[in-house]
């Protein structure tokens, strides 16, 4: 018994202890679904799940930066739509006269979203207006911009390179999934191993103390919004590629799913905590709920109940774990 206590004691000190609940949950859930439908854990279905989480997985990464930094970004869903719509327009009909081949369209649309991110970042880092309000307002505004530029109609007839982004595979794994994996990897490296990442955590953990410790708190805060906008744009581009067209009301509900994934992954609303692995597992769990319940032929309404309940449960669990390790 003492031996077990020692092992648990050692495991407690790793930063992944808080994820133990989520991991157990995923394993249990997979077990239950697999018993019901043997195809759940097949290679093809796993690829399926990963494909489904590409967009909001990347959005969770986008959200991670401002959230860990202690603030919030509610504008990611409309930025996602903006990225998809503008990139689609630029390489087809043209965006106010700007017409570029696929590669150029991607770059310009990312820059446009980055610009909006910079506006977010400037207002939030330089004024006392609550980030919640600023990004909420921007979300509505940007959504309006999306409707305007797309003229309220979807943008289709995408060039073949664009469609290839959404459908082609390498060794049976879709390129979009590989891109998502790459983004998770890069974000994990940046947040976990770089001095920049450290400063983001520090800022979120204690803004005042970071300032006194010499961190450029305003600059860091600003940069998180630019990064979240860029990642949201990338998510939008991949979403458009997979769907085959860009609709102006796209990604409407993705913000809440991204917030849930982050919360399940241990990112606290007050900032300073959270791991990218956790966010990935949170996104995976969300995807597994949809996929698994579909396989069991349970309707989408029940899936929503499941997702909501699970998010509350997961956050509660991770708070409970941190509290017991505090005592």
């Amino acid at each position: 018994m003492a031996g077990l206590r020692k092992i648990i004691g050692k495991m407690r000190n790793t930063k992944y202890w808080e994820l133990s609940g989520l991991i157990v949950l995923i394993i249990t859930y997979s077990f239950i679904i697999q018993l019901n439908n043997k195809t759940f854990l097949s290679f093809a279905n796993i690829i399926n799940i990963l494909s489904q989480i590409v967009v909001f997985g990347i959005l969770s990464c986008a959200l991670a930066f401002p959230m860990i930094n202690g603030t919030f970004d509610l504008s990611i869903s409309s930025l996602c739509a903006l990225g998809g719509t503008t990139s689609a327009l630029i390489c087809t009909k043209g965006l106010y006269g700007i017409k570029l081949p696929f590669a150029g369209a991607i770059i310009v649309s990312i820059l446009i979203c980055a610009m909006f991110g910079a506006i977010n970042g400037t207002i939030i880092s330089r004024t006392k207006i609550p980030p919640f309000i600023v990004t909420l307002g921007m979300d509505i505004t940007i959504r309006g911009v999306v409707y305007i530029v797309s003229n309220n109609s979807p943008v289709g007839y995408l060039p073949p390179e664009y469609l290839a982004l959404g459908s082609s595979t390498i060794y049976k794994i879709p390129i979009s999934v590989l891109i998502m994996a790459l983004i998770f990897l890069i974000v994990s490296l940046v947040l976990g191993r770089t001095s920049y990442g450290r400063k983001i955590y520090a800022n979120g953990g204690n803004y005042e103390a970071s300032y006194i410790s010499g961190v450029n708190v305003k600059g860091i805060r600003f940069s998180t919004y630019v990064i979240s906008a860029v990642l949201a744009a990338i998510a939008g581009i991949l979403m458009t590629a997979r769907v085959g067209s860009a609709t102006p009301n796209a990604a409407d509900s993705y913000a809440t799913t991204a917030i849930s994934s982050c919360a399940m992954g241990g990112v606290s609303l007050s900032g300073g905590t959270g791991t990218v692995l956790g966010i990935f597992l949170g996104s995976a769990m969300m995807g597994m709920i949809t996929n698994g319940m579909n396989l069991m032929r349970i309707g989408s309404n029940w899936q929503m109940i499941m997702k909501g309940a699970l998010m509350i449960g997961a956050v509660f669990y991770s708070m409970w774990i941190t509290n017991t390790s505090k005592r």
């Binding site: 191993r193 770089t194 400063k199 520090a202 970071s210 006194i212 410790s213 010499g214």
Partner: protein, 491 residues
Amino acid sequence: MFDYVLEMKSISKRYGGIVALDNVDFSLKKGEVLCLVGENGAGKSTLMKILTGVVKPDSGEITLKGKLVRIDKPIDAYRLGISIVHQELIQIPDMTVAENIFLGRYDTIGPFISFKSLRQKTERLMEKIGIYFDPSKKMKTFSVAQRQLIEIVKALSYDSSIIVFDEPTATLTIDETRQFYEVVEKLQKDGISIIFISHRMDDIFNIGNRVHVLRDGKTTGVKDVENLNADDIIKMMIGRNLSQQYVTKTNKPKDVILELEDVTNEKIKSISFQVKEGEVFGLGGLIGSGRTEVLKAIYGIDSYEGKIFFKGQLVKNRTPKESILSGFSFVPEDRKDEALILNESILRNISINIIDKISKCGFVNERLENSIAENFMKDLNIKAPNQNAKVYSLSGGNQQKVVISKSLASEPTVILLDEPTRGVDVGAKAEIYQIINELANKGYAILMVSSELPELISVSDRIAVMHEGKITGIVEAISSTEKSLMELAIK
């Protein structure tokens, strides 16, 4: 048997691998004031948390007036007549006094709260201890000292026979403390038994009847106050003598390295002084006299007019970042709000000041980071399982050592200390004085703000005393007394 209104027997509690209390026996006589004394981490707050139902002991039992009782949650303690007045008052600023006192227990006429009866009840309770505050005024309109007295009224409203006070005089002025002692004496006369957690000798010798000393989770002494002096108590607390608390200074100041000329801003006026390498320059004065503001101006947190010369050259640090880069570091007064990131590890708290220096191409050199932290933990004797332990789990003294490590990590030339031993227990205080002496020996220039006059006198070489934003005098520490400094502070 019934002489003792409370008996806690064989109380043990561990948190993971750390033993907070080890078979502690604690008893309280009816109508007495018992001072519970001990360093931070000795177990006093754990013991009281067990008594007031916040925490459950691993083993042991509690008897009240001879009867065995179970205290599993705070409401159990209240119902048994035990209440606690916390150091950080738990009050709702925007509600009135009466509403705060009777929170959750409002008298009602039908579904409506009877404010009249609340008011009357409150006034009657206040009479008992000879104070009066308007029950219909909002809590936030009162001072900390007044709110503390109101908290006592709240304890009375539960018909408490045992009241625990947690460091109540820490933030009170001399007059407020005197009024507080009078209230405590009134409570005693009413037959209420009092447990007084305090570090301060004044409290113990002014109103204490007995003293119960804890060290490292064990009882080291339970004695009547009249047979003791301060040295006896300190010895029971830390196992050392009072005279060993301060370190004999061995530093030799050299040339002037920092000079302030007419530094002025909203809070400070025409500040001019010089600090030498290897010198400890103390800043004394009453709270609000501007000492912290002088440090903040030097460190770039506040702007100022005037000149600051560093190593002979004119400097103007506009942000903390610039200050750190040019060789300054700052240990702020309020480490929890201004210096530490509480839910991060010791390692990451120490490295944040120099995170860019130890990174190559943006990637943190984790091996270097670890060895820096290990060295500091060893040199400053920071007690923790390892450098990944979270800072919130450390005692005040160890937390302060982490902040000091942080400030030393950037290899500064000038170190600015603001109340470096505030909220630090006696043992760690002595260690910090040792650290300051060694730093001065090594040639660092140190500015130290302190409100503890004995500390100021024994640690500094020279002292500048401030009053209302101006310097009223710069004196040699050796020839200063508490009286002479106080005279300068109120000039």
